[in-house]
Amino acid sequence: MLYFIEQCLNGVQLGLLLFLLAAGLTLVFGIMDLVNLAHGSLYMLGAYFAATFAVWTGSFVLAVILAVVASLIVGMVLEVVAVRRLYDRSHLDHVLGTFGLLLFFNEAVRLIWGPAGMTLALPNEMLTAVQVIPGVYYPIYRLVIILATLAVAGFLYIVVMRTRLGMLIRAGASNREMVGALGINIKLLYTLVFGLGAALAGFAGVMQAPILTVQIGMGENILILAFVVIIIGGIGSIRGALVASVLVGLIDTIGRAFVTDLLRRVLSTNAADTLGPSLSSMSIYMLMAAVLVFRPEGLFPAASR
């Protein structure tokens, strides 16, 4: 039971990280109608930046901040130099173009940092575990992730719902031409939105770095999960992305932890061990398939579009 609670917390934590990625992805898709396969590359870059800055500055916190800023800058530069030329193309051309970017980034990282990957060490204080509920010990760092991502989610909510920028973002999502006609600098808006998405992705990469290794291609697997999340949640919907991410995070984590055990009770150990990991990996996709069959617009479709 305690193990179950711990896994639930892990699931929520994974979900919130997915949310950071999904939010950026859904904003960019919702507002600029751009399918961005290179989003995972920005996640990867965030992790690599953080690992490098940690070595340079010796401070974990400083590394995090610098890495997020670096991701933001890379995102905005990328948008200005390359991405904005794709807006008026078809989704297929987006797929082609951003796929090219994905290949480029993987190779660039290999060139700059080498093929081996890196590690990001945590400061000692974060390595200990605290008692969250009597009997359940949970690593401080994972708690930090949960709180940090909730804070970012809250911040995002405030920006999108309560500020002028957010209003422009929401307006842009429903009616691009109108916003342009109002004299708003739509190009700048797009650059900012893309940069925001990149910063969120980079931040997610940084947060996950100490738990998983920092390596080339780490963006791909999580990118697919992020796409699954926005399909389930509803494209363009941040609320949908939040609910769906936590759902996906929980199912994936609990699936991995328990499916094999459950199968062992009904099947032979061999069969269970073979089927278990595959089945739990597949569980997310089955959920997505189910959503697409019964509710193709997603759980919380964005109001207009």
């Binding site: 051309d93 290949l103 190779e107 697919i224 699954v228 990991p277 398939a289």
Partner: protein, 326 residues
């Protein structure tokens, strides 16, 4: 969207000596004579490389049928390469070496998976369709990783190529011409399909699905059948690929491989007959060439793809037609 309709399929007379027809004929001629060159120079590497080109071109032809003519952008097409390949590999491992058993199973298994995936996915459109096909490919990828008995993550070696009795696939030249025949056969098949009643329904559905339903077509079932045909054809290519490399692994079905297939089709020219061949050849040769030039080939390949996406209308075929982005 990149221009969809192949002009040589409309009312204009097809036999003009346009740059495009000349170029295509040259390519086919070169491919037909390549084994001769290989025999004369003793260079077997080229033969092997081009065999791979032929096989992936056939896969690209199948993807072009649904993507170029049907407007169904499948990001999970590599799954059928894998299913076809694993059909051959698994049967071979279980002692069934006959191609007469392996290849029909490869085709049927791929068709079956395409039926399931299509039935669920074709209710969606646009980016949803792209993502759900991607997800289904990932599912089968994970299944393959879980197949411990058949190598799991490390893959499965196939010691002997499919046995056919009257033809020896272990002979490189024979195998090359077999792949060549399959490729040409696929292109011919697609050419007939896209001009038939069925093909017009598919193309109409891509152009304006709402209109199609308003005039009385139950478009879903036609698109599903098209999807299955494409899957089956790709499964055959998968069987060929497994024979070619004497090896299958889950990596064959990774989503970046599906991405490669999409690149080949778009690069060559969506919705054209020979575009997939041109695209496959260009992509694979470019990949090969770049990896000889530099240790970091994707640094160049990546931006090239980006430039193609931004500037080329209709891929290379479009270039030959003289089309440019406005």
């Amino acid at each position: 969207m990149s221009a969809g309709v192949d002009p040589s399929l409309d009312t204009a007379p097809p036999w003009l000596f346009t740059p495009r027809v000349v170029f295509t004929t040259m390519i086919v001629a070169v491919l037909a004579l390549l084994p001769v060159y290989s025999m004369l120079t003793g260079n077997t590497f080229t033969l092997t490389l081009f065999t791979r080109v032929l096989i992936l071109a056939a896969a690209a032809v199948s993807l072009n049928l649904i993507m170029g003519y049907g407007g169904m952008v499948s990001f999970g097409h590599a799954a059928y390469l894998g299913i076809g390949g694993y059909a051959v590999g698994i049967l071979a491992k279980e002692g069934i070496g006959s191609g007469f058993a392996q290849w029909p199973v490869a085709i049927a298994a791929s068709a079956l998976y395409a039926l399931v995936v299509g039935a669920l996915s074709l209710r969606t459109r646009g980016v949803y369709f792209i993502m759900i096909t991607l997800a289904f490919a990932q599912m089968i990828y994970y299944v393959a990783i879980g197949l411990d008995r058949y190598g799991g993550d490390d893959g499965l070696t196939i010691h002997k190529r499919s046995q056919f009795g009257f033809i020896d696939l272990s002979n490189r030249t024979t195998f090359y011409y077999l792949c060549f025949a399959v490729l040409l056969g696929s292109i011919y098949l697609v050419a007939r399909i896209v001009n038939s009643r069925f093909g017009l329904v598919i193309r109409g559905s891509r152009s304006n699905d709402r209109r199609m339903r308003a005039i009385g077509f139950p478009t879903f079932r036609y698109r599903l059948v098209c999807f299955v045909i494409a899957g089956a054809l790709c499964g055959l290519a998968g069987a060929l690929l497994a024979n070619h490399t004497n090896f299958v692994s889950p990596a064959l079905m990774h989503w970046t491989r599906s991405g490669d297939l999409i690149v080949m089709v778009v690069l060559g020219g969506l919705g054209t007959l020979f575009g997939p061949l041109i695209g496959a050849a260009t992509f694979l040769l470019l990949e090969e060439g770049l990896s000889r030039l530099t240790e970091y080939p994707d640094l160049i390949l990546g931006p090239v793809l980006l430039l193609v996406a931004i500037y080329l209308n209709g891929g290379i075929e479009g270039l030959l037609e003289g089309r440019r982005r406005g």
